[in-house]
Amino acid sequence: MPIGYEDITILITGTLIAICCALTGSLLMLRRMALAGDAIAHAVLPGIVIAFLLSGSRSSPFMIAGAAAIGLFTTFSIEMLQKKARLQNDASIGLTFTFLFATGIILLSMLAGQVDLDQDCVLYGELAYVPLDVWITPSGTVMGPRALWVTAVLCLLLLALIIVARRPLLLTTFDPAYASAIGVSVPFYHYLLMGSVSVTTVVSFELVGAILVVALLIAPAATAYMLTDNFRMLLVLACLAGAVAVAAGYAMAATLDTSIAGSIATANGLLFMLAFIFSPQHGLLFRKKRKPVIH
């Protein structure tokens, strides 16, 4: 099968999304907040539907802001349920995201016909339509696929954030007590990260769907975690794993004529399985031989 312009557009957009997700997902994993990421991915749905209804378009900055706000709201309400209502952690997460997601679905069916968004899009995303939605400036210049621009900008922003704030991000993740002891605001970086996760989720949402965002967030990070003991390397490998999964998943979807997003998630799972079994350091095959060095 020859690779055409459309394939390349889809692949580049997919890779950019995968990188955004891998960067934020790695931090979530190290903070043991993978499931908070899962919750946010589900919970942004009502935000997207409402913003969609109000602004009437996709990818508008308005929509991203609105959905990001609801992502932060999710984080906040999970914490409130735990602290104020004293609900246990896992139940707080489960209660919050199922409620918000159900509300989103109900809104969708109430507004059916008014918004160009349906349940299929919610689940699978529409990566295949990326080349069709073209950004045209008011003066008439054709700038190429809009999603490509949005994801590229997000990717650059996230990379900049992680490079600039790598030290506080690492420190507040690794040893929050020491971080706050030397005067770093742990809550600030917590909400900064959760905000980034929300924005990433929203941008990825319409391209790969609500649940597969979770695969892109967590699986590449887990794969990289099997392969390295170095923080920087972890981020690089996670991006790489995400990108490889996008390419492999896309090829798989084309061959089997099936969902692109689902195939990418499956490819991510397969990559993790390989790393889980064959990783030289932590893999299943080599794990038993290694013993901690005692002096």
């Binding site: 489960g94 409620f99 997601f101 509300t103 699978y124 649940i211 689902g262 998630a265 799972g269």
Partner: protein, 428 residues
């Protein structure tokens, strides 16, 4: 409106749906209680998502939407997800939350791949398979009812048989092991039942929202009781109410999806519970704080009146409100005085106020505890006399009569506190 609802309920189709939804949500909530108590509620979410590829595989193998094949497939992949999560956590340094998210999303992705592939084959039998995503409660018929009924009865029966084991397992695994329980076997039964509950529950609300009918009714029930047995009753009742309401809403407004409404109703029950439940609810806790605050303020006023009388030993002497205010830090002394008047602790004579006999005794007790506690801190805890006042200010409002006696006993009924003030005892 009420006439049309009555009409709805007499429609056998509506009865099937309502009854079916209630059976599904009720029995799921039962297992959800144990999932919640073992802090495993999100494993339930993973099972729910992981069921999708099984549904598709069941369909592919059977070639039709044969319920038995589909349920079997769903059961297998659902159970597989639990063991995968366990395996990953035990054989690598990957933490549980990551393992859950990984298995959940990847298995769901695989399910989507299979589902899309099936849909594209154009097999006419496949239509409706995607109802497993968001539930197909509205399509429940008589035959389904039989399957759900049997499964629910099975789950209920096993919960009764294993009630003690499940409870002990959730509460203290190691103790269960030490008692000689076969922890692995019980765990296996419990996991199996949770998977079973999920597998039949997805027919009501679908894989994506399944976690809610597992966790949410149980979480709501937790606020109302302190015993596992009551919690089981309550959570399955909450589950059934949500199922019933969801079914009715979607019948009243046919465009409305049943599953999400079931979840929203369950969530509303949970939110109401966490707000208004007695004891554990947020409102009752903040109400208790306010009452406490009021008692402290009132007792401080009584204490002020008492201390004003200490100089000349004229405790029951009348004082002006101004004199009281000069000696009391309070934003609203008039209101406090009125409250105390109502309770019979003070008496009023125009602008003059005086302690009643009951008020005098209560004030005396507070002052006594204050001074005893100061003495306790200096003797037993080596705290300097100039640092004991603040602590005694709070403790004086707290002590129970038993602790008060114990305090007197341990200190040997002393006559003065560290600042040489008299410690007043009640004359007997």
């Amino acid at each position: 409106m009420s006439a049309s609802y009555f009409f709805l309920l007499s429609d056998p189709n509506v009865q099937y749906v309502a009854l079916g939804a209630m059976l599904l949500t009720g029995s799921s909530a039962l297992m959800g209680t144990f999932a919640l108590l073992s802090k495993k509620s999100l494993v339930g979410d993973a099972i729910a998502h992981a069921v999708l590829p099984g549904v598709c595989l069941g369909f592919i193998l059977a070639g039709t939407k044969e319920p038995l094949w589909i349920l079997a497939g769903a059961f297998l992949t659902g159970a597989l997800s639990v063991y995968l999560i366990d395996f990953i956590v035990h054989n690598s340094h990957i933490k549980e939350d990551t393992a859950i998210g990984l298995v959940l999303s990847v298995m769901f992705g695989a399910g989507i791949v299979l589902l899309t592939a099936i849909q594209k084959t154009g097999n006419a039998a496949q239509s409706g398979l995607d109802q497993y995503l968001f539930g197909r409660a509205a399509a429940i018929n008589r035959q389904d009812l039989l399957v759900f009924g049997t499964t629910s009865v099975l789950i209920m029966a096993l919960v009764i048989v294993f009630f003690r084991s499940f409870t002990l397992l959730a509460f203290d695994r190691h103790f269960a092991h030490a008692l000689g329980f076969n922890v692995k076997f019980i765990q296996f039964i419990q996991t199996t039942l949770i998977v079973l509950a999920v597998v039949i529950g997805i027919q009501a609300v679908g894989v994506v929202l399944m976690a809610a009918i597992l966790i949410t009714p149980a979480a709501a029930a937790r606020y109302w009781c302190n015993s596992v047995k009551t919690m089981l009753w309550l959570s399955s009742a909450f589950g059934m109410i949500s199922g019933l309401c969801g079914a009715l809403i979607s019948y009243a407004a046919p465009a409305m999806p049943t599953g999400p409404w079931i979840v929203v109703v369950a969530s509303v029950i949970a939110f109401v519970s966490l707000l208004v439940a007695p004891e554990k609810g947020m409102l009752s806790r903040s109400l208790r704080q306010r009452r406490l605050q009021q008692t402290i303020a009132q007792e401080n006023l009584l204490k002020t009146l008492y201390k004003l009388g200490e100089k000349n030993e004229d405790f029951l002497h009348e004082r002006t409100a101004q004199e009281i205010m000069r000696n009391l830090k309070s934003a609203r002394p008039q209101k406090l005085l009125r409250q105390l008047l109502k309770q019979g602790y003070v008496e009023r004579n125009n602008n003059h106020w005086k302690l009643t006999e009951a008020g005098y005794l209560r004030a005396q007790r507070i002052v006594k505890i204050h001074r005893l506690w100061e003495l306790y801190l200096t003797t037993y805890m080596n705290i300097a006399p100039d640092h004991v006042h603040d602590d005694a200010e709070t403790i004086e409002h707290l002590l129970t009569p038993e602790l008060e006696k114990e305090l007197e006993r341990q200190l040997g009924y002393p006559s003065t506190d560290p600042h040489q003030s008299q410690i007043p005892y009640r004359k007997t």
